[in-house]
């Protein structure tokens, strides 16, 4: 892993460097990509004059001109369809779906055309499109504005699904996504937009690590927390809190959900023997379920306990005042870790006939 977790690095050396926000890092990545390649264009709702509702495209239209960065009508299917046409004509569109749920009107374009064009044309037409989607909750938003929609895309063959958890990764992964010859769903954790870190070394780099490499953000020996995007931060906090209970927690940040880095995840679980998957999205049929399945398939005989998931509740996104109950937090992660059969007593939650004996 050549990329360090700037956001989580020890305070002293990081603060010596210039700190930028994640939205700033994405802005910088867009600018650097547009400078490097005249075919890169940015468009979407309010990304031009306004500079995006999260200020991600701030100043880009001003600095690169209306031909390179422009506003579109409020019609997401049209935005994606337009990008398909531009990509076929040789451009590299980077488009924004203003909020996670706003991408759903474009889902038909994404799932049926963006994802399938290379296959449909037997490899003759590839679509170098990046679809940026601010996603996830934790910002006091309402429904339509807080969904975690990664599973829909991860389930669709033909799409790469990427989500940064650190400021540096936001820069690096977006540069890599724009360079990618195929469509990439780039999911930006809204609640991390204002997190800070350094991107100096990433900006200075001339090449970027290819997709499919997870990062061990924190090493530990007792249990592996697998997370991505906004949940990495939760996992890191839980890992710190777990020290009090005597658990040494390893945190793996997937970075790219598709392609999936089985090797890093499985090696970690083989080492620790226990695994908890953390995702903010609703748990049922989510990405976390896929991760849990892959882990138990590949590391079965290393497991001291079932692979557990900590996820959002299986409900529509709740009103702002209730979202703290919905989102998986440190306490729920620690509760899951506690269930991992540390004392040679079975986890009784799903155990039939469990009244015998003394374990809780």
């Amino acid at each position: 892993m050549t990329l360090t977790a700037a956001a989580h690095a020890a305070g002293a050396p990081a603060s010596a460097r210039q700190q930028v926000t994640m939205s700033g890092a994405i802005n910088r990545a867009l600018r650097d990509a547009m400078t490097a390649d005249a075919d890169v264009v940015v468009f979407g709702e309010d990304v031009g004059t306004l500079g995006g509702v999260f200020r991600v495209t701030d100043g880009i239209a001003r600095d690169f001109g209306q031909d390179r960065c422009f506003d579109t009508p409020l019609a997401e299917a049209g935005i994606v369809g337009f990008a398909v046409g531009m990509a076929m004509a040789g451009f590299r569109p980077v488009i924004e779906m203003q909020f996670d749920a706003f991408a759903f009107p474009a889902f038909e374009q994404i799932a049926s055309h963006v994802a399938k064009m290379r296959n449909r044309t037997a490899g003759r037409v590839n679509l170098p499109i990046v679809i940026r989607i601010p996603f996830g909750g934790g910002i006091g938003g309402v429904e339509h504005h807080c969904d975690s929609s990664e599973a829909y895309y991860a389930h669709t063959p033909g799409l790469k699904v990427v989500t940064p958890a650190t400021v540096e990764d936001a820069y690096t992964l977006l540069r890599e996504a724009i360079n990618d010859p195929d469509p990439v769903i780039f999911m930006e954790p809204k609640r991390l937009y204002w997190s800070k870190g350094s991107i100096e070394s990433a900006v200075a780099a001339t090449t970027f690590e290819s997709f499919g490499h997870a990062a061990v953000r924190r090493e530990g020996t007792d249990v592996t927390l697998v997370a991505y995007g906004p949940s990495v931060d939760v996992a890191m906090q839980a890992a710190s809190a777990a020290i009090e209970s005597g658990w040494s927690v390893e945190v793996v940040d997937l970075r790219t959900i598709v392609p999936f880095d089985d090797e890093t995840v499985v090696n970690s679980v083989r080492k620790t023997g226990r695994c908890v998957v953390v995702q903010e999205a609703q748990g049922f049929a989510g990405v976390g379920a896929e991760i849990a399945a892959r882990v138990q398939e590949r590391a079965f005989h290393s497991l001291h306990a079932p692979v557990l998931r900590v996820a959002g509740l299986d409900i529509p996104y709740p009103p702002p005042k209730l979202e703290h109950l919905h989102l998986p937090g440190v306490e729920r992660v620690l509760d899951a870790i506690a269930r991992l059969q540390w004392d040679d007593n079975a986890d009784t939650r799903f155990l039939a006939n469990a009244s015998k004996g003394g374990a809780a």
Binding site: S302, A346, G357
Partner: protein
């Protein structure tokens, strides 16, 4: 059933799908006539397809009303063969089926893929899923028809895969453990306790773990108590596999030279009756002298490797009661003629079941001539507590690169299985290469004398 229709007059047995995409069959011979009483699964007709001649069992019982086709007629799949009257069998009976599935359609409702799944115990996977024995009888019988048994209805619950593996590695039968955890879950502590008990002297459990619960079996399975010679063999092999981390290396060798040497010796000294086994014994002894690390045993308790001064050559022989391994003591002190005589004598004693215990103990290295079974190679189990075994495959004519051309040569495969604790691949390979070189050019032995 799909192959039948039920009418007011009776049930008509249609020509079933005989598999493999066959669409028709010729009626060869009827085994029943109108008016005969037939019972379920009685063979009623012989038909011939493009593939085979097949006897068809009838799925119904009752009187035969009609034979729809004369011998010689070609019947399409799904067309009537014969109609059975009256006695309507109950739905339940029909469902249960007869289990007769010889010709690929049978009377069973369940459809299976027919593909056998391999698993370590050689049992159908369904049985493992049930955790008991239920479906172990036959792959074709629906699980529901398996007889109820006293065995547990669910698999033993284990706290984790790691503990399950711990039990398996120690040959602990999970079905026999008493779970101490809530919900009847076997905990690590339970397995560890069983391991300690096993070490304390439950030898019988060590040797024959009841991995297949007794209830899994049919009453008419053939059961042979594991005792006497079979038990001794089982104990020794089990102990070897459990304790010795063996590795095997092998090489193909041109034995033409050794065969010629044997013939030459015979020409000048027929009385000594020096055969191939004696020559291999001689070569092995020379090899062990050169690589004494292989003439050894590991003493686990003392945590030491004991390299032995005497070479006592074990060799595999057949007795009326099974495999025995007689020992030529102090083999290094013998001439080749003496070796041949000793091997011959011990082989005869084995055949007559007259070996004394002393003649079967104290071996330090085994020569295993499995070529007598017509096989080329083997991955043998080391003769505990020895450290190595030389295996000799059959010697047959094979094309072989010889002096720049392909020639028919007497070729055999030699294999060395060794206890990896006593030495590494370099030593084992060196020994095996030395043996191979001597087989190819027996005159090399002169240099080692």
């Amino acid at each position: 059933m799909s192959v039948s229709t039920i009418s007011t007059t009776g049930r008509t047995f249609m020509l079933p799908d005989l598999g493999e995409g066959l669409t028709e069959a010729e009626v060869i011979e009827w085994h029943v006539a109108p008016g005969d009483e037939v019972h379920v699964d009685q063979i009623v007709v012989t038909v011939e397809t493009a593939k085979a001649t097949v006897d068809l069992p009838c799925p119904y019982s009752g009187p035969v009303l009609t034979l729809h086709n004369a011998p010689g007629a070609v019947v399409e799949v799904g067309r009537p063969l014969l109609t059975i009257g009256a006695e309507r069998i109950s739905g339940a009976e029909e469902q249960s089926g007869s289990g007769n599935v010889l010709v690929g359609y049978g009377t069973s409702e369940a459809k299976r893929s027919g593909r056998r799944r391999v698993n370590p115990e050689g049992r159908p996977t369904a049985a493992n899923n049930l955790g008991s024995d239920a479906a172990a009888r036959t792959i074709n019988a629906p699980a529901t028809t398996a007889p109820a048994t006293a065995a547990p209805s669910v698999a033993p619950k284990v706290i984790s895969p790691v503990v399950r593996k711990l039990a398996r590695d120690n040959q602990i039968s999970l079905a026999r453990l008493a779970p101490s955890g809530p919900g009847d879950v076997i905990r690590r502590a339970d397995v560890e306790a069983a391991v300690r008990m096993g070490e304390a002297g439950l030898a019988s459990q060590e040797v024959a773990p009841a991995q297949v619960p007794a209830g899994a079996d049919r009453a008419d399975d053939i059961r042979t108590p594991l005792r006497g010679v079979r038990k001794t063999i089982a104990d020794k092999l089990t102990r070897s596999r459990r304790e010795i981390p063996e590795a095997t290396t092998w090489v193909d060798v041109d034995a033409t030279g050794l065969m010629a040497a044997k013939d030459e010796i015979k020409a000048v000294n027929a009385v000594a009756r020096i055969g191939l086994l004696a020559l291999f014994a001689r070569i092995s002894i020379a090899g062990l002298t050169k690589f004494p690390e292989l003439n050894a045993r590991v003493n686990v308790e003392a945590q030491e490797i004991v390299q032995l001064r005497d070479i006592n050559l074990s060799f595999a022989a057949q007795s009326p009661r099974g495999l025995v391994v007689p020992v030529v003591h102090d083999a290094a002190e013998m001439t080749t003629a003496e070796l041949a005589a000793a091997l011959r004598e011990l082989t005869e004693l084995a055949r007559d079941d007259k070996l004394t215990p002393a003649q079967m103990t104290g071996g330090t290295f085994t020569l295993n001539n499995y070529g007598v079974f017509g096989t080329d190679g083997a991955a043998p189990i080391i003769n505990y507590p020895e450290a190595a075994m030389l295996g000799v495959g059959r010697i047959i004519d094979r094309p072989w690169a010889h002096e720049g051309q392909v020639a028919l040569r007497k070729v055999a495969q030699l294999g060395l299985t060794f206890d990896h604790r006593v030495c590494d691949g370099r030593t084992a390979g060196g020994f095996l290469r030395f043996v191979a070189d001597c087989v190819e050019r027996p005159v090399l032995l002169l240099a080692e004398l």
